[in-house]
Symmetry: C2
């Protein structure tokens, strides 16, 4: 049973699982519950494995599983597939490379590793005749990667926009309902939706890694994550939701990429989305991805982006694809340059000490760069000495509007840095 | 080049296309535009092929294509894959069976054929070592079948509900906006969304075929389409949309299946859907499918359900999957029994000659079968001699409520057959 020489002649696929936290234990239980033909969990690796093995999470798992805290045991074992649910770049990148070198297929939910080193690991996998699969790394239980790999490969995907971070979506949809940023962040942390250090989520790094993976799988575009600009959601305030509502919009963290075949534009950040768009429908920790194909038009995918069981479904589906031999797709190895220049309508929120001539000064700064004002909105009920008001523009380039904002930010009446957000287009008629 | 003995040693996949209508010509142009490696369109079959070959649709296609109106030419050719875009059970069932027997892979968009004879054809394909793929048969450009086959196979899908017929969705979403059924049907026919004989669409047969295909691929449940009850949308009137709005709902044609592992419930028909549910967001000819997995929860897919280019994307993606050898998945051969017994809240619309005691008589009939009234709604402004009013019930079984409706329908004050619709549950919190 532990003889690796018999691997190819046996039908059973032996599986080693790295990590026995929320996702890892859900994977183990899903495999046990569903009893898929020809797939058997043989090993579980975790640091401090005895504590894990004795925990309530381990109850009900069959007794033949070998529990270990020595990664060398796993890499030297007869496992055909290594499932990774631990995360992080190091040491995981080296461990998984060694697993591939040892002829083991790898299934991983590790978005940072795949975003930064996926191309190299995929090449390694190809060279050694094994698969590297990572559908669980993007949007958890929403099968957007299998859908684009197997169902949209006949199209030419030109745009992807996604709500890819459940924590931000939870925070922003709670703020939409009136909650304060800090209160709702604390609530998300208490509920386990947000980390103690929320940087990766709220500043956009998590969504950016997922966007890079989507770009590679759906658009055949390799990207260096560090080349994609991010904007934090920390500066979005309740007043912005009030103004957004006046504009028939709400605010979501949107990760976007567009390609016209030449230039690749990409960014992650809080964005105004029309109430009529699917992005506004996404509440709580849900994820949502919209792909726009040159031939097939818009396709929307949504569901649970995180959580043990939804992510475990993605991991186990990948495992079954590997076991049934239908997992290989070749993807680009080279990274493309990224432009941050989008042409979009923009939302500008200022907080000023109200004095005559402010609107005229702002309008002048915008006119100077050629940005046309679409609307000026000032809600009643705010104090004159710290007055928030909003200007929206017609579509113009990011650089153009940023130039005006830099000028406006220096005006003495400005009490804080202006907030600049993109406004997503209305959905197209079908 | 035309020597079938060389097939396996050549890398190029030769493709024969059956049908050169809206979808077929879009497939031909997509293959020509995208220039996929290793795939070449070699033959096009259609009745009256000379007219097709001389049409504007044929412009720009490369000159090496052999155009024919003799199916025997195609079946005897060296084509590796036959793509079918014609539709219908006969003679297509026999033609495609012969193609499979001849060792050709088959890619088809033929929903009726796959719903009625897919299990047999799949078995034939397996026996001859070739693939039968039909992602384009359900929801056109929305890759729901690849997504469930490759991305949700680790889950146990318990429910599927879908808006699977673009014509009905166009009609009902226009009625929601105030249009008359007959006017909007005429408009749909003029725009090419609806056939001259709209029976297959409005009476639910089209959606039913697609539901059966989804049941088989996502839930491993074989169904005889004729065993699934359908309810027409012809009896839905504007007044029902007004009452639905009062109930914070709208009306869509919904195809549903549920399985608890034992009983399989399935039906197609107009259904009240809450404004807060994704089903209410689907407008125009869009399709939308929601799967509910035991582990991964709800996943929503939406996009263009029909049209030449979106359907061509699905067909060509299938072709590429076949060419790359990642298309085979084994599915059930046996059909399961279908129950029409759902437990759901219900909407009952009556048109009566208003007389004292009517409400009490209706309430009595409902009480007698144990159905609890949730609300009684009577909008002002309708004539007393043909008064529509609505009763909604708490969840109860279809048989229970039907028994009461049968009693009520016989009451002398009833001016027409009562309309009985199911009400879909509110979306679950994520």
């Amino acid at each position: 049973m532990e003889n690796s020489a018999t691997r190819s002649s046996e039908k059973e696929t032996r599986v080693a699982l790295l990590g026995f936290g929320t996702v890892g234990s859900a994977v183990a239980h899903l495999l046990q519950t569903q009893q898929f033909d020809g797939v058997r969990l043989t090993r579980i690796y975790n640091r401090g494995i005895q504590r894990k093995q004795g925990s309530t999470r381990a109850e009900g798992l069959h007794g033949d599983i070998i529990w270990t805290d020595n990664i060398e045991d796993v890499l030297a074992s007869d496992a055909d597939v290594v499932i990774e649910t631990i995360g992080g770049l190091d040491p995981m990148g080296e461990w998984l490379a060694r697993a591939l070198l040892a002829g083991k297929h790898v299934v991983t939910a590790n978005k940072q590793l795949i975003a930064y080193r996926g191309a190299g690991l995929s090449q390694l996998a190809r060279e050694h005749g094994v698969s590297l699969v990572y559908n669980a790394a993007v949007a958890g239980g929403v099968p957007v990667i299998p859908a684009v790999l197997h169902g949209l490969q006949g199209d030419r995907v030109r745009q992807i926009a996604g709500i890819l971070n459940g924590t931000c979506n939870f925070i922003l949809s709670q703020m939409e309902a009136g909650a304060d940023y800090h209160d709702v962040l604390a609530k998300a942390q208490a509920a386990g939706y947000a980390e103690a250090d929320p940087t990766a989520d709220v500043d956009g790094y998590d969504a950016r890694a997922k966007l890079c993976i989507l770009a590679r799988t759906a658009m055949q575009i390799g990207l260096d994550p560090d080349a994609v600009p991010v904007q934090t959601i920390r500066n979005v305030r309740l007043v912005d939701f009030h103004y957004a509502r006046d504009l028939n919009c709400t605010i979501r963290q949107v990760a976007r990429i567009e390609s016209d075949g030449e230039t690749v534009r990409a960014r992650v950040g809080p964005t105004l989305v029309p109430h009529t768009s699917p992005f506004a429908w996404s509440h709580g920790t849900q994820n949502l991805v919209m792909t726009t194909g040159e031939f097939g038009g818009d396709v929307v995918f949504s569901g649970h982006g995180a959580g043990g069981n939804p992510t475990a479904v993605a991991v186990v589906s990948d495992l079954l694809a590997v076991a049934h031999g239908s997992a290989s797709v070749s993807l680009p190895v080279q990274n493309r340059a990224v432009s941050r220049e989008f042409v979009a309508p923009h939302y500008l929120r200022f907080v000023v000490q109200d004095k005559p001539g402010i609107v005229s000064a702002i309008a002048g700064a915008l006119a100077q760069v050629g940005a046309n004002i679409d609307s000026i909105v000032q809600r009643p009920g705010y104090p004159k000495d710290a007055l928030p008001f909003v200007v929206t523009t017609e579509p113009c380039s990011t650089a153009t509007i940023q130039q005006a904002v830099d000028t406006i930010a220096k005006m003495p009446t400005m009490l804080e840095e202006p907030l600049l957000l993109q406004i997503l287009r209305e959905p197209q008629e079908s």
